[in-house]
Amino acid sequence: MEAMIDRLIKLVVERLPGSHVKVDDPANAGGNYWVDVRLGKKCQTLEFRPGKGFGLFHEDAGYGEGPAEVYRTPERATQRLEQLLGASGIKASRLSMKDLRELYGQSQVTLAKKVGVKQPAISRFENRGEVKLSTLAATVKALGGKLEVRVHFPDADIPISLVASKK
């Protein structure tokens, strides 16, 4: 079996005691693995694409629909499973900033220091959802990521810049 799947299973068993893991192996070499992780009445499904990572589906995904979130390592995928199946038991839907901060193991205090704001600002940001895009970009950067704003039209998908381009 693919080493990444073995690693995921090991991590899930360690970090989510009592969970049951079922794997559907691909019929052909290079195909995708499907991993169902069940803990109590809750279940999450991951689709592993070799070379791409672990796709995690939101609750309302329909027949043949793709995953909503992709994690490139078994470690990060397991951390997300802990959020969804563990004690906090949040539903698999769009991540809040609090979920994202916790997924990357930061407290409000440490994140505030990295962003250059005070802790209550992070708290307000997480609870009210009102934030300047520049603060959001700085927060995501402090977590190790990069903010991208993209617009979708029926005939186009376009990443946009938040400042006007110079002529």
Partner: protein
């Protein structure tokens, strides 16, 4: 999903595995074109809110059933028989569609 299953059930049966896969794909695409605002972009892996037919890389092992191909998606298994039969069930085992091939046999009547 209900409309997709309803139309697939009503469609004339297929006579071979490949035509069964094509039948399911065309019915699903027609329903999504009609009911979803999302353009068809099957190469995208991440969700765009549209349902897509099974892809080859989602075919999973189907032990001891040489007459079947089995495909997985988040909540469903889809089976296609060499005789054109189609079966769609949830991963918990609820059968949503069990359509015989042109010879009248269902997927579960093959390889027995």
């Amino acid at each position: 999903m209900k409309e997709f299953i309803k139309r697939l059930q009503k469609a004339p049966p297929a006579n071979a595995m490949e035509t069964a896969i094509d039948l399911l794909s065309s019915v699903l695409s027609a329903v999504e074109d009609e009911y979803s605002d999302v353009p068809c972009r099957p190469k995208n892996w991440q969700s765009d809110g549209r349902m897509y037919p099974p892809k080859e890389d989602s075919q999973v092992k189907c032990l001891d059933r040489p007459s079947l191909k089995k495909y997985r998606s988040k909540s469903h298994y889809s089976y296609f028989g060499l005789n054109g039969s189609i079966r769609v069930e949830t991963k918990e085992g609820e059968i949503l569609l069990d359509k015989p091939g042109q010879d009248g046999r269902t997927t579960h009547e093959l390889d027995v």
